[in-house]
Amino acid sequence: MRPFDYQRAERLEHAAQLTGEPDTLALAGGTNLVDLMKLQVETPQTLVDIGRLSLGTIAEDGEGLRIGALATNTATAVHPRVLADYPVLARAILAGATQQLRNKATTGGNLCQRTRCYYFTNIDQPCNKREPGSGCGAIKGIARIHAVLGTSPQCIATYPGDMAVAMAALDASVEIASERRSRTVPVRNFHRLPGDTPEKDNVLEPGEIITAVTLPAPVGGVQLYRKVRERSSYAFALCSVAAVVDLEEGRFTRADLAFGGLAHKPWHDPRIADLLIGSEPSLALFDKAADLLLEGAESYGENDFKIPLARRTLAAVLCEATGVEP
């Protein structure tokens, strides 16, 4: 860990102003950032503690719900409105990390958590995300946990989180504030693909602070979150599926799906809903949905299995949601 300056932001504008400075990072729960600082992966000159800002509220927002950036993962997962109207979100959060971590982890920090790529977290290995231009250690290395969708020759890392996958299925929005402006970005567009600039995980610019995530009016339906992993807790997803699905008269009327563990962002492909809506659920249809999902998928040896695994997990979730017997 490099020595750093610690500042406590008292007001949002203050936080935005401070984090606009070079080599400055916001500190929320610290469960990801502090670990990475110990490993010297993150080396901020200044840490701006935003923990005292009043961004922790979870409140009604019209028909929807606004979850403050500093609401803890635990608070969100047990919130009565979340449990009643957005169960996929509660399930996704509870599938992540451990109770102790969720008690500290925040909405904003969870969205911004960095990849778990082994080469990213080891400063003696090449990594374009950590050190642009140094190469990608994972492509020819241990790529078991890496992406199969939307990769680039520069980076094949995944966004590792669960919460954002459910938020992508729910079509939530990220509220962002800076000194000069505020803006709202759909969760589906918040994270980016690595392309030639894998060092940028998401669309946040320096000086921008996440203030909240807003969930649209509830849509009901069957809501499922399925996370595949080798041990049953305290492990990141090899592949995950968040599903918000509805049927009327035996046909899909809603099929909002998002996928984790497969890409540098929670993966959402609108063509899947287009395919499913209006059709009768069947194994053959689910297979077609998987064809769309995995069109253009590319794997790197160690993670070849993620392609059939994603196909099977998608089928599992849709079978469970629709009652189709395999």
């Binding site: 860990m1 490099r2 020595p3 110990k38 490993l39 010297q40 778990r116 082994y118 080469y119 080891n122 400063i123 003696d124 290995q125 250690g137 020819k140 290395g141 241990i142 078991r144 595949v228 992993r229 080798e230 041990r231 049953s232 807790s233 305290y234 492990a235 090899l238 194994l283 299995f305 059939p308 695994l309 099977r312 997990t313 089928a315 599992a316 469970e320 395999p326």
Partner: protein, 737 residues
């Protein structure tokens, strides 16, 4: 007074069964347990020593090569930095278990990626850690093989008997499989740590080590000191599992720094350093061949394995250890090969050999049972050999058949040939599997001093360690049983090289070896007391603090007359096991659920039945078995060291990415302890239990996976991707998933 026994003959007297105090074997809690769970037991790094400096090991990202220069000045001006230690006595590798001499030096000769080569010492830990990342070095690096399949191998061990190939060709039923296991980490909770102090030519080190008498010799040899100048203290060890058998890099580095600077120095490895620099369990590539007649009697048994280690290391994962005698078969071929590669040091990780060598045989036995069309337990029972199949030596004691039968009854095993995919609950296929277990028995020379204090209480002292196993409890129980005292009246002091040298904790030798030393010391005390009373030692009964003999009774304080009475027990292994096969045995039963879509496997329940001689404490013995079963789950389903194919560095080097089972992975575990007395194993008729619980059980899980979903997986750990792929390839064409 010293009582010395070199055990050359079995001891059938079962003395501990006749003493009558009733503490031996009782499920007593650990005397130090409360301290441990309330955080008041002090571990190596936790001593508050005034003026203590903090050291951080500096590692190099080179697979093989040499550090040419270290530029101390690159960090000496950083805040708080006191010194850079790059003495050529630094060690880059840990010592192997029971080496008793310095590990490979100098550290600057680099043999694996991430090898420690220097130590940065500063006022605070944070300063040292930052400086360690900034230390400028020059090195030379050269190509190095890192893949065991890419190099020529050396033969380490082989047994040839009859003609296996012929037996395979003639067999009514045969199995020929290749099964692989990946590397394992000990992953002890307490990271490796040392706090060294150098005063007037004497070195005192608080460290986290398993075998102090060897460690003292290793450290003295590393530093060029006399053993008498070195004192090691390890009263509490937060798990070792083999990784603390030999003295490791931080102990030598802290000592060198303390000697150079004349100030106390503490070095604690980071979790990543623990993973990347202490001993790993080798990956293995195993071929099992079984030949059987129409009734399932083995006519041939083949087990070949390839393991790896660094150049210069003598250790080769002894995969075949129990295969030598577990099952019959007159035609035998057992062969162990060693590949020299540049991954970090391979060495003992809990139950070296059997922890990966039994489960593969057990999978092959399951396949054979299927071919013969027989219940897999019946197949095993039919193939328990009368005597050691190669040496012809009888077994000193063996509860294998009883473990299989009684374990089956407790588990609710349905005796039938296996036919997979019989039960489905929703998305989950349910199946059960069985495996035998075995672990060879060792004992090691050990001394312990027992003092009867004037107040009638007793003190037991040895440099033996308690690595979380329950040594404090069981040594007190042996003494209590022998001296007629309740455990509260016995104090046990461990983990200090100033005390008589015990066996150390490793290879499951501790309980039987040190227990025997305490037993002998107490025998000496009993004799002295009897002498005072003018009665034969056999006529003296000690119970509840009283001495009783024909016609009299005296409280111990009265008998001691204000003076302490002391005796040292000295136990040495002798010829008692020479013409015998001495091993612990067990049986494992598992029920698993396999997800039909994803191949995720969850263990739903497990039963283990174990026979390991006398049970010294039913609670701590059971705990050892529970831990063993938990290791079986990790071994079967989740644990594997992932080495980078380019430079051989260990990629998953923390507890988030090296997946030991978590609470949710560990279901109800049932343990049956089958009491037996093994007269040849030790004077207290006990064998080792610490490792038995993980020797074979992963095979029961593998067999249960097959019984559940019809997938035979031939690579451990059986992660979702592997199970899914095996399900795909085993799927009958009519099935859709």
């Amino acid at each position: 007074m010293t009582v010395h026994l070199k055990q050359d003959a079995p001891d059938n007297r079962d003395v501990l069964d006749g003493t009558g105090q009733g503490v031996i074997g009782a499920p007593l809690p650990r005397p130090e347990g409360l301290m441990k769970v309330t955080g008041t037991a002090t571990y190596a790094a936790e001593y508050a020593v005034e003026g203590c400096l903090e050291g951080v090991l500096v590692t190099v990202p080179v697979t093989r090569g040499e550090v040419l220069s270290i530029d101390e000045h690159s960090v000496l001006t950083m805040p708080g930095v006191v010194a850079v230690i790059s003495d050529e006595r630094m060690t880059g590798r840990p010592a192997q278990g029971m080496a008793g001499e310095a590990p490979f030096q100098p550290a600057q000769e680099v043999c694996y990626w991430g090898q420690p080569v220097a130590l940065v010492v500063a006022d605070t830990f944070e300063q040292a850690r930052d400086a360690a990342k900034h230390l400028a070095m020059e090195w030379r690096s050269e190509d190095a093989p890192i893949d065991p399949a890419s190099v020529e191998t050396e033969e380490d061990e082989s047994t040839l008997q009859g003609d296996l190939a012929h037996a395979m060709a003639e067999a009514a039923h045969s199995v020929d499989v290749v099964i692989t296991t990946e590397g394992h980490a000990s992953a002890a909770m307490e990271p490796h740590a040392a706090l060294a102090q150098w005063n007037d030519g004497a070195l005192t080190v608080h460290a986290s080590l398993q075998m102090l008498k060897f460690n003292r010799a290793e450290l003295a040899d590393s530093l060029g000191l006399e053993e008498e100048q070195v004192r090691l203290l390890s009263p509490y060890v937060g798990g070792g599992f083999g990784s603390k058998l030999g003295v490791s890099q931080e102990v030598v580095a802290a000592s060198l720094a303390a000697m150079k600077l004349g100030r106390p120095v503490r070095v604690v490895m980071s979790r990543q350093q623990v993973f990347q620099t202490v001993e790993r369990r080798s990956e293995t590539h195993q071929r099992i061949r079984l030949a059987a007649d129409a009734e399932g009697k083995l006519t041939g048994f083949g087990h070949e394995a390839l393991v790896s280690n660094l150049p210069g290391e003598t250790f080769a994962e002894p995969v075949l250890q129990s295969s030598q005698f577990l099952y019959a078969g007159e035609n035998r071929l057992l062969k162990l090969d060693l590949a020299r590669i540049h991954r970090m040091t391979a060495g003992s990780v809990r139950a070296p050999g059997e922890a990966v060598g039994v489960q593969t045989v057990e999978q092959a036995m399951d396949m054979l049972a299927e071919k013969v069309g027989m219940d897999p337990i019946e197949l095993r029972l039919r193939n328990i050999p009368e005597v050691h199949p190669a040496k012809g030596t009888p077994f000193s004691s063996r509860k294998l058949a009883e473990c299989l039968r009684e374990g089956a009854a407790a588990f609710g095993w349905e005796p039938r040939p296996r036919a997979p995919r019989h039960t489905r609950e929703g998305e989950w296929w349910i199946g059960t599997g069985v495996a035998s277990g075995a672990r060879v028995h060792f004992v090691e020379e050990a001394k312990a001093r027992v003092t009867l204090r004037p107040d009638g209480t007793a003190l037991v002292e040895t440099d033996m360690t308690d690595i979380g196993t329950g040594t404090y409890a069981i040594l007190g129980q042996v003494a209590g049983e022998m001296l007629g005292l309740v455990p509260d009246d016995i104090e046990v002091r461990l983990g200090d090289t100033d005390l008589p040298p015990g066996s150390g904790s490793g290879g499951s030798v501790g309980a039987a070896s040190c227990g025997s030393a305490v037993f002998l010391a107490c025998q000496g005390l009993r004799e002295q007391l009897a002498k005072r009373l003018n009665v034969g030692a056999d006529e003296l009964a000690l119970k509840d603090g009283f001495a009783r003999w024909d016609g009299g009774e005296k409280a111990l304080p009265e008998l001691l007359g204000g003076e302490p009475l002391e005796c040292t027990g000295h136990f040495e292994p002798g010829a008692s096991t020479e013409d015998l096969t001495v091993s612990s045995f067990g049986a494992f039963f598992a029920e698993v659920a396999v997800n039909r879509w994803t191949g995720e496997t969850r263990v739903r329940r497990m039963t283990g039945a174990f026979g390991f001689g006398r049970v010294l404490n039913a609670r701590t013995a059971r705990s050892q078995c529970l831990g063993g079963l938990t290791w079986c789950i990790g071994n079967a389903l989740t644990e594997s060291l992932l080495f980078d194919p380019v430079d051989g560095h260990l990629a998953n080097c923390d507890l988030a990415e090296y997946h030991v089972p978590v609470n949710r992975d560990v279901p109800d575990l049932e343990v049956l302890l089958l009491e037996e007395r093994d007269a040849a194993a030790s004077p207290i008729q006990a064998k080792g239990v610490g490792e038995l619980g993980l020797c074979g059980g992963a095979g029961a899980i593998a067999n249960a996976i097959y019984d559940a979903c019809g997938a035979r997986v031939f690579a451990y750990p059986m992660t979702p991707d592997r199970v899914m792929a095996a399900m795909e390839s085993s799927r009958p064409p009519s099935e859709s998933t």
